[in-house]
């Protein structure tokens, strides 16, 4: 019995120890669990906060891109529009299903042949395009330059008008001279003793002077207006047009040649205005009293890649002290010249974003060089 009691007591003590150990372990587990639980709550909150933050950044970026004053389009590798902001859709509308950007742009431009510089859209706006490759696609930026374009057109017009304004005094002289001659002839008809032949002659002379006046006014208007709409055309074709006008007026002994160093050269011009500008230079060359006169029209590409048209002759050339003044309006060395010819030529060339200069290296004759942006 005693032995039995002793055994029972030992077991009891072992159980107690075991319970105590279990209790301690359980408390530790419970504490760890609570700590883990707190960490989960904290991490969950962190996660939610991070997600909310990212979503708000994305929303902010999307809002910024959408609100950009420029049009932004994202193209895929096939060139189709994947995304576009509202400015882009205001300018170009929505793309058709599977439509490539080029086709979408083509639907919207006023003149598909004019896709350089400021592009005019059918809706009357002017845009410029810039494109960058991205991994798996391309980003296109459209900038609305309508206001700047209008301002530029307005400024160019103002400059022409202001130049015209400065010319008012010169104009008075130019207009009054043929007018004075017309008035003299017309009033001669009332002098006593005039016979039929006198009257007829005076009427003819009056009409001649009035026609001269009309020509002068037409030239001034051309100067004030500048060039109209432009289209891409081959420089060679332009020079051929000039030659067609020129050939019937060539005097005996005058030779006209057309030389092309760059047959594929093209420029964007208003052909009638530009042909008349080159024709004016060639006609000037023909005024030179020179036997065996040779006039050459040359088309070439400059070292800088611009298109150049050179009109040269083997005549007496232009005196050194007059070279700086030849493009001034009303500057003339001819008794019957209006002095507007070269000023109009310059105005037409400049309206085409070009320049005109005298070739300084020329030792004999005169050589005018017109340069223009070449079409690519």
């Amino acid at each position: 019995m005693n032995r039995s009691n002793h055994t029972t007591s030992a077991k009891h003590s072992q159980l107690k120890t075991a319970f105590a150990a279990f209790g301690s372990a359980s408390e530790k587990l419970s504490a760890r669990f609570e700590s883990l639980e707190a960490k989960v709550v904290w991490l969950t909150r962190e996660l939610l906060e991070a997600r909310a933050g990212r979503e708000s950044t994305e929303a902010r970026l999307a809002a910024i891109i959408d609100g950009l004053p420029a049009g932004v389009l994202l193209l895929d590798a096939g060139g189709c529009v994947v995304e576009m902001n509202s400015t882009a859709s205001d300018l170009l509308g929505q793309p058709r299903p599977q439509e490539r950007f080029e086709a979408m742009l083509g639907r919207n431009v006023a003149d598909p042949a004019r896709l350089i510089g400021a592009i005019e859209l059918k809706n009357g706006r002017f845009i410029t395009l810039s494109r960058r490759n991205l991994p798996g696609g391309e980003i296109v930026l459209l900038t609305d330059v309508s206001e700047a374009h209008l301002m530029q057109t307005y400024l160019e017009r103002q400059q022409r008008l202001s130049t015209l304004g400065e010319l008012a005094a010169g104009l008075a002289h130019q207009i009054r001279t043929p007018l004075a001659a017309a008035l003299l002839y017309a009033s001669q008809m009332t002098l006593p003793g005039r016979d039929e032949a006198d009257l007829k002659r005076c009427a003819g002379k009056t009409a001649d002077r009035l026609r001269e006046l009309d020509k002068l006014i037409t030239e001034m208007l051309a100067f004030a207006r500048g060039a109209a709409s432009v289209e891409p055309v081959s420089v060679n074709a332009l020079l051929e047009q000039v030659a067609q006008w020129l050939r019937p007026t060539l005097r005996a002994g005058t030779r006209l040649t057309i030389r092309t160093e760059a047959p594929d050269l093209r420029v964007s011009v208003n052909a009638p205005a530009f042909v008349s500008a080159v024709l004016n230079l060639a006609t000037n060359a023909m005024q030179a009293a020179h036997s065996n006169l040779e006039i050459e029209l040359l088309a070439r590409r400059s070292a800088g890649g611009r298109a150049e048209i050179v009109v040269s002759d083997n005549g007496p050339g232009i005196a050194e002290h007059l070279k700086a003044r030849v493009f001034e309006p009303f500057f003339t060395t001819r008794a019957r010249g209006t002095g507007l010819g070269l000023a109009i030529v310059k105005s037409i060339v400049e309206a085409h974003r070009g320049g005109i200069r005298l070739d300084p290296s020329r030792s004999q004759g005169a050589s005018f060089i017109i340069d223009l942006p070449a079409e690519t």
Binding site: A169, A172, H173, R176, T177, P178, L179, A180, A181, A182, L183, L184, Y185, A186, S187, Q188, T190, L191, R194, D198, K205, D208, R209, E212, T333, A335, R336
Partner: protein
């Protein structure tokens, strides 16, 4: 009026022809040149009673021509044609010795009357030479009195 000619100086060929044509139509003997240099050469060679010159001309203008004429032929009357009817221009021209100016555009009658008037004034000293302006006035007065019918 004597047979002395009018010399027209005008750079614009159209107007030059019209001026000459108008004077010849009114039986006024005249010649025309296109610039001041040619005018001076022509004046050296011939006897002219009046110069009618444009003011605005390339190279030598009408005022410079007037100065040159006044230096060489102080008695030769010069009328300037100007398109700019400014008082200052007219005053400057008169100060330089021009006897008159005419504003473009003008009609045939105005040109002929002006030329005839100037040539008739010039006709008087041909009969009696006097260098001093006072004496000249006296000669002119004497001529007028002499031509009046006596009472």
């Amino acid at each position: 009026m004597n047979a002395m000619k009018v010399l027209v100086v005008e750079d614009d060929a159209g107007l030059r022809d019209a001026l000459l044509d108008t004077l010849l139509a009114a039986d006024v003997p005249a010649e025309a040149v296109g610039d001041a240099g040619a005018a001076l050469l022509r004046l050296e060679a011939g006897a002219f009673g009046l110069v009618v010159s444009d003011v605005h001309m390339p190279r030598i203008d009408g005022i410079e021509l007037l100065t040159a004429i006044k230096r060489r032929w102080p008695d030769l009357p010069v009328v300037l044609m100007t398109a700019f009817a400014t008082v200052s221009k007219a005053v400057a021209a008169i100060r330089e010795g021009a006897i008159d100016y005419i504003v473009k555009p003008f009609d045939a009658q105005a040109l002929i009357s002006m030329v005839r008037h100037q040539m008739s004034i010039r006709a008087i000293p041909d009969e009696l030479v006097a260098e001093d302006p006072e004496s000249r006035r006296l000669v002119a007065l004497a001529a007028r009195i002499a031509t009046r019918p006596s009472c």
